[in-house]
Symmetry: D2
């Protein structure tokens, strides 16, 4: 194994040892071989955690042909995976054109099953045909939306949408994101949490998790939520709940978790106290209107790895974390969501792909939720793996 692959191998070791659901599944798959004789075409982030998913599928007899998402591929991991007999296209520095060619290469390998991300492979299928494909999975909510809108009717096989599972909402959105946001706030800024004034914008699964975890650590937390029913829930959970305009000059830190664009926009910046910290944990880097912010400030200074200071002409300044991108993937050495939450999410992938491999006929064509009995089986395994009864 060359040095790059060796580096990849080592980085995966701790992670693999703690993804216990997948470990059990590898053992199981190595006996049942659900993917024997099947080729899985994949488009997904290629980093140490997903590598463990790929190993798991391979243990079930699958031949794997994969490419990464554009810009997130980690070359050492790819090098390692190639030593395991997988066909991987692409590298970190790929251009967007390269990336499209990689997607085409995956489909050109004639997979029977697809593991898709953002419906990139499905879009290729819709354009060029689905010959030989029996079904697949889609990781993301936005891919699921695409399958149900622009690609509706154009994908003649079942696609199980992983991210809609209630297990992901609980295990990942509420708890793992909640945990990783408080961790990343502390890691990036080194600021004190107890007694600090946070405004969390959005009280869905992610926002309510973030609000609870910040308060649990002693933060004073107020919530902004435009949906009355969610706002009422936040109020009954004991949070101060108000409009962002009311809370702006009380805030020391604002964290967005709405999924919507420009929730902290041009009309808010003038209301903020100097030194207020702005951060986002939503998937898209659009919740804070960074473009507007930059255009209204006179000077910017990079103070630390993900900490930028933007000065207004009036003498005030704001602190912007990670340019408005997901804070829990920002800063030096970010680790993202906890290993167990990823393990959970990937088991949803593995068992859904197993279902497709072994019983695609029993599933309708098109986008569909994870079958209820798979959710329940995974919940039981997770309870056991956690030692919940101890």
């Amino acid at each position: 194994m060359n040095e790059l692959a060796e580096k990849g191998r080592r980085r995966i070791e701790w992670i693999r040892s703690r993804m216990r659901l997948l470990a059990d599944t590898r053992e199981e798959f190595s006996k049942t071989l659900p993917f024997a004789g099947l080729r899985i075409g994949m488009s997904l982030h290629l980093e140490p955690k997903t590598a463990v998913l790929l190993e798991t599928l391979a243990s079930g007899g699958a031949e794997l042909v994969a490419t990464g998402n554009h810009g997130s591929t980690q070359d050492d991991v790819v090098a390692y995976l190639r030593t395991q007999g997988m066909t991987i296209f692409g590298s970190r520095d790929d251009s967007l054109d390269d990336h499209h060619r990689n997607l085409e290469s995956v489909l050109a390998a004639k997979p029977q099953i697809l593991l898709d991300n953002g419906a990139d492979l499905a879009a290729g299928v819709a354009a060029s045909g689905a010959e030989g494909i029996i079904g697949g999975t889609e990781e993301t909510t936005s891919g699921g939306l695409r399958l149900r809108a622009e690609l509706a009717g154009k994908v003649p096989f079942p696609v199980i949408v992983i991210n809609d599972s209630i297990l992901k909402a609980i295990g990942e959105n509420r708890h793992a994101v909640g945990q990783s946001v408080v961790e990343s706030f502390m890691r990036i800024t080194n600021l004190m949490v107890p007694g600090r004034r946070f405004v969390v914008v959005g009280y869905g699964w992610c926002g309510s998790g973030v609000a609870h975890y910040l308060r649990a650590l002693g933060g004073k937390v107020a919530v902004v939520e435009s949906d009355e029913l969610a706002a009422f829930r936040a109020a009954m959970d004991g949070f101060r709940v108000g409009a962002i305009e009311e809370l702006a000059n009380w805030a020391e830190v604002i964290i967005t978790a709405t999924g919507q664009p420009n929730v902290v926009g041009a009309e808010i910046f003038p209301l903020l106290e100097s030194g207020t910290v702005l951060a986002n944990c939503g998937h898209f880097p659009w919740e804070i209107d960074v473009a507007s912010l930059r255009s209204s400030t006179s000077e910017t200074t990079q103070l630390d790895d993900a900490i930028e200071r933007l000065d207004f002409a009036d003498g005030r300044h704001l602190i912007l974390i990670a340019d408005g991108r997901m804070m829990n993937l920002a800063g030096r050495e970010p680790k993202g969501n906890s290993l167990e939450s990823m393990d959970l999410g990937f088991l949803l992938q593995a068992l859904s792909l197993e279902r497709v491999a072994t019983a695609a006929d029993s599933l309708p064509a098109g986008a569909q939720p994870v079958p209820d009995e798979i959710n329940r089986k995974i919940a039981r395994r997770m309870l056991q793996s956690m030692g919940a009864s101890k």
Copy 2:
């Protein structure tokens, strides 16, 4: 006003002063008179809190004809309401026959609108005809089920089912019941909560509220939940989660909140440590198998108002709270759910009845949920009434 009515009047005073949503609605209704010329026939608990609802409907121009639920009517409240020009049938000591006659009397008064409880009035309508009735509301979930099953198609007007509203789930089931269960545990038993070992059976809206509030007060709390997805949620919320057989001899207190019969049954009693406290907060007094418990114990002693000691032949004893009935309505001077949570629930009634009175034509016949915009209007009012933004 005679003495009984005066007693009723005084008991209502504090309560009315703190049911602020209804207070505002009385003012509003006294101007808009949505019920002018309409008679509302009602079947509901007649106690101080519901009295404030009746006053509110009367302020909107309604003529009220009501009877209580069997066995829960409070005579002083009835006496007071009669002084306000309402027609009330029944008294605390009514036999079941009396109660049925009262229901018939309500329908005989030819109401245009019904406020029903357990579908008792709806059943009468199904039997004897709905002439002149334009619609109504049903307070309970069980009444809603009856309307959708045995009475399906037999009620030719719209009935809005109040208890299905998400606002009730949040405001009442989760938070108000959670609060009143910890209050009643402390009030009835005078036992210490911090450090005590509680097993909460059920992790729905009520059970999860009870578990959270007990833990918040320093209790050690384990959860029993047969639904894997809810059990996973409990585990992620940090609770120990196991089968009741595993947790039985660890428990000092068991509280049931499942809605199901015999969740603590004959096979569990032998596993419990001597002195274990058994209590229930579910609606029906069937979650603890009290009959089986009594038949297997040799002696019972009433130790305090809602505290009974049952001795086994093996020398162990158990403590049974309130004979397995709802603990938050048991013991001396119980007050039940908080005034604000009742205010919320009654505003759902008032605005749903207003909708029926003013726009019954726009609603389909049969059981149906509270219209979304009514939920949202009430959530906004509740947020304002709570001063949520302060």
Copy 3:
């Protein structure tokens, strides 16, 4: 046993069964008989919980001669204790003169040991001589202060001051009072706690307990504390901390726990929103300046048992709980601190009295803390009794 005594007997039953530390001590004392041949003269509240302490001392061979505190004696308990061969002076309706005669009667019985409350017996001893007395205990902090000030040097035997024990601070002041204050707030007012705005005045053992328990139940809690170091502690614990003038018009409920007079005084009332609830949990009924409040309001209405409404000429009104007396002993059927916390406090009494009975010579004269090894022995027993390791 006559009816009154029988009533007393029954009221003690549940309580005795849950005061497990004393139960073990009764068994132990009945073998070791530390008080054999000794008479203990006592002045203390005579109610069901203290009755269990008296039984415990009697089991150790003591002859008991007791009187109650003025105004708190419960006649059924006294009647029961008399059937157990104890000499009890006094009744609920005693005048102050009667009370003083009762104290004299206790001393006239020539006790060898004193269990004192507020140094009432010690004051008698200082006046009339300590012949035959080998030592005693003092329950209260204020009695301890008296012994160290006006009575310093006048009490020629050791007096162990119970209330100064760190175990009481933790078990009673912080946790039991915290629990009983939230219980009594809910029981008396029936108001919702989650989302409600509380100001807790004082952040000592009691105040910090009250603040934590209210917040744990979902309340928004701010703290007023004049000592900077305690105020800093509150701020680090995540509470809003400010001057009462700043917080007055934010408060929905104010609870005093300072031990100081007039902390909510005439200058505060004009700042409060109409409807604000005022309550106290400090020992003395002087923290809210009730006299000033009454003189500045035009009308008062008793709304419920411990709920009074006071109207100002400007149209605002305030709600006063229990006339400013300890709220956790107010309202219908108050139970006070938890049984286990009382059990703990009384074991401090029992073992301190045992020390006096068996080793008075080893103790210096005058007021002194509970010996460290007694504190530690009780802590170990309490941990075992709680099943702390489960």
Copy 4:
């Protein structure tokens, strides 16, 4: 400014901007010049946060002569500080001999005031004389102990011991360490906290903080504590409390916070489940008996930066974090305690040194606590700086 100094300068920028108490003090000192004409000799960690303290003292007119602790000196910070006119001896790679020479060099510069760390300078003074020294401060508890034991009577000037201040116990030991331990656990291991089983050994200021913060994040936390009174406190705080032998095989993670050696020793390792994580947050790397652990395991693998796997012959393995050193300073890019908690601690230094500079005559010789009025002044400033009343 050369590149190294420029790197140091930039690393200090964010930190300085958030150490607001020191910022205000710099402004104040630049007017009052308490150190005008005085030379301060210093021995302390030289890293970005302490650099801000040095700047603050310099702003008060002090001439600074400093050396770092052995092994922790950061060369870029030193380079920057030298550009500011300070005399700094030493570098990261210094041998122990070099370090001793540096200490001598500081004393040889004839400082009037000492800022000491571990009593290293005081020991030099005791050996070689204190001519011209008017007083100083000592940062650490262990330095304070040394001054009161082996150096007692040998230091003829006042030394204020900073770490004994109650403000440090609250702000740093309880809250900042609690926060940084949960942060470092998440950052280093990437493991899920909610539902995980932690055993915290020690329930002093640090241990109780760690236990609370882990539980706040959803962890199941048990406490081991040999002092009965602290153990009782933990039990009343709702924690499971037991002996480490009882809890060992329940634990998934053990974190030591006792200050004592070998609290997790050879007799415990056989009791642990395979995969248990061992970590320490106490000052000394001796709480886990790492030597014994290594001698009883057959193979070790470095899995990630601060994660080591040690395999036993019986097939089990343990995970050791940071070789048993302080976990909150371990792993990639550790940041240590929060900026605000360091700001607080350094203000104690700054104002204590000011007191020495301006009123050494009013202080007794030898080790002594921070004057009460300085503690109170800082508490007030911290409350204001936090915006505690908002």
